[in-house]
């Protein structure tokens, strides 16, 4: 797949702290990307940079090979749905939808009307008077009906009930399938949105630590469960993300190539897949402990 967007060594500083550090990655066209990271990892900052709302302190972002910032021809192709749109607070839902229809070049009036009805959004209420879930729904209507070639969703399902979240996922899959749109989704609900993603981009403390095909990403992780005496030797390997032991049985989470898979299975060790959410948790914890070691001067 061709990259629609490319980030080249971008960084964003806020005073002395760095929200994004040397981030280099690409986002493939016509795919749904999961942008994953713990709280404060820099997901929102990265989304704001690649939508053009803020400038990076260093580096460059390219959209379809053209520089994104200072390029008026690129901006209409990107639609960012923020988790909290403060500037919408004093506007009625119907006014916001009118503005979307007026200002977003590929706005789909029919889809917007369908979604408003499906989500039962009250047109006469101000955005700030809506519940958290309904505010998210207004954002979803904007994102989906914008028909923007690149749509970015920052925590789009905040406050939504399970039924509405499922509706959003279904609409998103259908739209991407029909129109070859590229979507980047930042979410903490990894398990339920895992099936949407074709690519995963992992951010840890402002650094893009992985960007790869989701299946390939998940296939690299394995649960190894077996007798503690058999797994003890592997526990110190840097590819082990997590270790749990209980009365003679040990479970290791292994991330990377498993060269001696057949040998291990022959020895009675059970090898199984790791769900995406769990993998994310283990990778984040490992990243945190590495950075603590680094900060304490124990990093080698």
């Amino acid at each position: 797949m061709n990259p629609i967007m490319e980030c080249r060594q971008i960084a964003k500083n806020y005073g002395k702290s760095q929200a994004v550090r040397n981030a280099t990655t690409v986002f493939e066209e016509g795919a749904v990307h999961g942008l994953l990271g713990a709280n404060g990892a820099g997901k929102t900052t990265l989304l704001h940079i690649i939508s053009g709302l803020i400038y990076p302190s260093q580096g460059q972002v390219l959209y379809d090979g053209q520089p994104l910032h200072d390029n008026p021809s690129v901006a209409p192709n990107i639609c960012l749905v923020k988790s909290d749109e403060r500037s919408w607070a004093d506007y009625k839902v119907k006014d916001l939808i009118n503005y979307c229809s007026l200002l977003l070049p590929a706005w789909d009036e029919k889809l917007a009307a369908e979604l408003l009805q499906k989500f039962r959004l009250p047109g006469n209420k101000k955005y700030k008077q809506l519940s958290r879930g309904m505010q998210s729904m207004v954002g979803i209507v904007k994102g989906l009906a914008s028909r923007a070639p690149l749509t970015l969703f920052d925590e789009p399902t905040l406050g939504l009930d399970a039924d509405m979240r499922e509706t959003f996922y279904e609409l998103m899959i259908a739209d991407c399938g029909e129109r070859q749109r590229t979507m980047i989704l930042s979410t903490h609900l990894i398990d339920e949105s895992a099936n949407l993603f074709q690519y995963i981009t992992l951010l840890e403390q402002g650094v893009v630590t992985s960007h790869m095909d989701k299946d390939e990403f998940v296939e690299q992780a394995h649960y190894l469960q077996g007798d503690t005496s058999l797994l003890q030797g592997l526990a110190s390997d840097p590819r082990v993300l997590h270790e749990e032991s209980l009365v003679g049985t040990t479970v290791l989470v292994w991330y990377g190539e498993l060269e001696n898979r057949d040998d291990l299975e022959r020895q009675g060790i059970k090898i199984g897949p790791v769900p995406l959410q769990k993998l994310f948790v283990y990778l984040t914890r490992k990243g945190n402990s590495n950075s603590e070691e680094y900060n304490n001067g124990n990093f080698s």
Binding site: G52, I54, Y55, C79, K82, R86, Y99, L103, L104
Partner: protein, 228 residues
């Protein structure tokens, strides 16, 4: 061009209601003033020698609020709809100029209409009123300066936070205190508009507005949209 037209429509939709309320209140007050002058002349301010003089100040205040809102509200709102900064700023200049021109024109119409009505009713506030264009031009240039000055103030608040914004207000107050004469809008517009000094002052306001537009662009060019 298409985007500019759409943004202009956005500003029209966004500002129509407040503008309609503002002028409705102003016209009601003006009508009440004429009624009072005609039927209760003893309670009117006899020292006031200009017709509807309060309108000038009210318009200037309305426009300065508009300037602040353009910087602090319209900017993030339009950015959220994918409008590039350059187009936003060019449109801000165009919309502000149109709004100031329209406000000056409307006030001219009110003054001219009011003059005819009061003359018919036999109430004399001023013997004559300035020529239409100089009166419009002197207002227009001042409103433009006023609006961009406060757009700049709004931008400083939005981009750099409360303290730099407050410092800028302090500078405004200082300059205002140091400047000679008082800020009597009616006197400034109506007495000086037709004369040479009026044109000079108006051109000066236009020049200062152009400088403010330039400074504003330097601040907007890479302005981040607040993420909190």
């Amino acid at each position: 061009m298409e985007t500019s037209r759409k943004m202009l429509r956005f500003h029209w939709l966004d500002n129509f209601k407040p503008l309609a309320y503002f002028w409705s209140i102003l016209l009601l007050v003006d009508i009440a003033q004429v009624v009072v002058m005609r039927y209760f002349p003893e309670i009117t301010n006899s020292s006031n020698s200009f017709l509807f003089s309060a309108n000038y100040g009210a318009i200037a205040i309305y426009l300065l609020v508009c300037g602040i809102l353009m910087a602090t509200n319209s900017f993030p709102l339009l950015m959220s709809f994918g409008i590039p900064r350059q187009k936003f700023y060019l449109n801000l200049i165009g919309t502000s100029a149109l709004l100031c021109a329209a406000m000056a024109l409307m006030q001219n119409i009110v003054v001219y209409g009011g003059y005819q009505v009061t003359t018919l009713l036999g109430v004399t506030v001023e013997d004559s009123i300035p020529a239409f264009f100089p009166l419009w031009y002197s207002q227009f240039t001042f409103y433009l300066f006023d609006m961009f000055l406060f757009t700049l103030l709004g931008t400083v608040f939005y981009r750099f936070g409360t303290l730099p914004g407050l410092i800028m207000i302090a500078v405004f107050v200082l300059v205002l205190n140091l400047s000679p004469g008082d800020l009597d809008f009616a006197e400034n517009f109506e007495l000086t508009a037709p004369g040479w000094s009026g044109w000079t002052v108006s051109h000066l306001f236009l020049g200062m507005a152009a400088i403010l537009i330039g400074i504003g662009w330097l601040l907007y060019r890479r302005a981040p949209v607040r993420t909190y």
